[in-house]
């Protein structure tokens, strides 16, 4: 059974259709990459899956359970965590408190919160920070952290909710090549723990190296779904998204990688 299953998912804002009749599955342990021009509806798709902006058509199943109309906090409890395009964070709180929020509130519903967070929660938060190698930032105020740390912190607090599925929205936007490599490592480590991942990214190097499968959206619809290597052969993708130049560069990049591995 697929972990996540989107069936005919649509989202309209009045007359404007942001996502239209989108159907795809994500298998457990898989990494699915999503690309497409800005305004194609990628982030809206994440809003829909994570419940912040519920779908107006179709249904979404997680592990066979319908989560289409669930409140966002419920979806988080059900096992979907998300990172955001902008560097979201609780800016006046310390980094550790940011992760504690995920560890304490993200795992299950807390109707009557306890007086203290508890040992176990604190350990879970520390583990998540250690995994992303930001433990030394624990007592810094989040608003004052540099971009890379904020992105890693956002991932740590997502991990602390112990998700089955992690949605990452442009995790390397605005990072240097070196920093991209560090995030790539982190994503591989997360994946090794068995977390399924969907990531949106414009940096094609990142997308094709991490994804088992790539889905390209345009005007809210799926125009391509398949292995990353087939991306550069698809006429439509080249025409609406990559362009000839980017496509050629990607082709040569993948060629050199093949050569290096083969």
């Amino acid at each position: 059974m697929p972990l996540l299953s989107c069936r005919g998912v649509g989202k309209s804002f009045g007359a404007l259709t942001a996502v239209h009749d989108l159907t795809f599955d994500v298998e457990p342990g898989e990494v699915l990459g999503i690309g497409g021009p800005n305004g194609a509806g990628k982030t809206t798709l994440f809003e829909v899956i994570s419940g912040l902006n519920p779908a107006t058509a179709g249904s979404i199943l997680l592990d066979g359970t319908d989560i289409t109309r669930m409140a966002p906090e419920r979806i988080c409890h059900a096992g979907i965590a998300r990172t955001f395009q902008l560097n979201a964070g609780f800016d006046t709180m310390t980094a550790r408190e940011n992760v504690l929020v995920g560890a304490y509130f993200g795992r299950r519903n807390r109707t009557m919160p306890s007086l203290r967070a508890g040992r176990e929660t604190e350990r879970a938060a520390d583990e998540a920070m250690a995994m992303l190698d930001i433990a030394d930032r624990a007592d810094r105020i989040t608003g004052q952290l540099p971009v890379l740390d904020r992105k890693l912190l956002m991932m740590a607090s997502a991990l602390a909710t112990r998700p089955k599925l992690l949605l990452m929205d442009e995790p390397v936007g605005g990072l240097t090549a070196k920093e991209v490599d560090r995030v790539m490592e982190a994503v591989r480590a997360i994946r090794a723990t068995g977390v399924t991942i969907i990531l949106i990214e414009h940096v094609m190097r990142f997308l094709v190296q991490l994804s088992d499968r790539v889905l390209i959206m345009h005007h809210g619809e799926k125009i391509f779904e398949g292995e990353p290597s087939r991306l550069v052969e698809d006429r439509t993708v080249i025409d609406v998204y990559l362009g000839q130049g980017a496509s050629d560069r990607l082709k040569s990049f993948m060629g050199s990688r093949e050569a290096a591995h083969g």
């Binding site: 305004g39 605005g174 990072l175 940096v203 998204y241 362009g243 980017a246």
Partner: protein
């Protein structure tokens, strides 16, 4: 060499306490296309904002045709002919396309011949003429970008600064936008361009400057950059 349009010396700037730019030197010659490249989040937009007076300059000088403009208010800087087309367009969403364009001609001396300039903009960007009575907030991404550029052109002569005009656009639209930019260059306009994708401008830019971590680490012309793949690899990724 003739006096440059813009000369920046040892500039430092940033947001409350956090220094984003440190020790930036840059010269923008007249009637040339000067491009700034470099990874995101390392000060390219901040540099344009500092030139426009939106970000406070903490050290160094910015001179426009020999006259210092650092420390002036944004409106005074615009009045002297430094026009910025900001990243993400920043249109006036509740106004029509036409009103947006007319806002572009808010400058005293641009307001006088707004009519003629409007014809020029419509000739250059015919799509805007079709859409002139549409509310700007309802335009598509490519149309918004064109409206933003058209609004910048309405401000008249002077230094035109474009912050990532290709950001988030489909390649076909990017091609159209760059066609307009290169046309303006050919007509002798002085342009300062921020662009993430170096390949796109290497052949056309008169000089390219690589900004990393708040300072320029490499400057040269396009052909030189293409001959240094390690620079592209290290700073810009594939």
């Amino acid at each position: 060499m003739a006096e440059p349009v813009l000369a920046i010396r040892d500039l430092a700037a940033g947001y409350d306490g956090r220094r984003v730019l440190d020790g930036v030197d840059l010269v923008v010659p007249a009637a040339r296309l000067t491009a700034i490249i470099g990874p995101n989040g390392h000060g390219k937009s901040t540099l344009l904002k500092a030139i426009s007076g939106l970000v406070r300059v903490s050290a160094g000088t910015i001179a426009l045709r020999g006259e210092r403009i650092d420390g002036l208010r944004p409106d005074q800087i615009v009045e002297r002919g430094v026009i910025q087309v900001p990243q993400g367009d920043l249109l006036f969403p509740g106004m029509t396309v036409l009103d947006n364009l007319l806002m572009g001609a808010y400058r005293q001396d641009a307001a006088r011949d707004a009519g003629a300039r409007l014809d020029m903009v419509f000739a250059l960007l015919p799509k805007l003429k079709e859409r002139r009575h549409q509310i700007a907030g309802t335009l598509s991404g490519g149309e918004r970008r064109m409206c933003g550029i058209g609004r910048g052109l309405m401000a008249g002569e002077g230094l035109l600064m474009l912050d990532e005009p290709s950001l988030g656009l489909a390649p076909i639209v990017i091609d159209q936008i760059y066609e307009v930019i290169f046309d303006l260059c050919a007509a002798g306009r002085t342009i300062l361009l921020v662009e993430e994708n170096a390949q796109r401008i290497t052949e056309r830019a008169d000089s390219i400057h690589l900004l990393d971590n708040g300072r320029f680490v490499w400057s040269g012309i396009g052909a030189e950059l293409m001959a240094r793949p390690e620079i592209i690899e290290a700073y810009l990724g594939a």
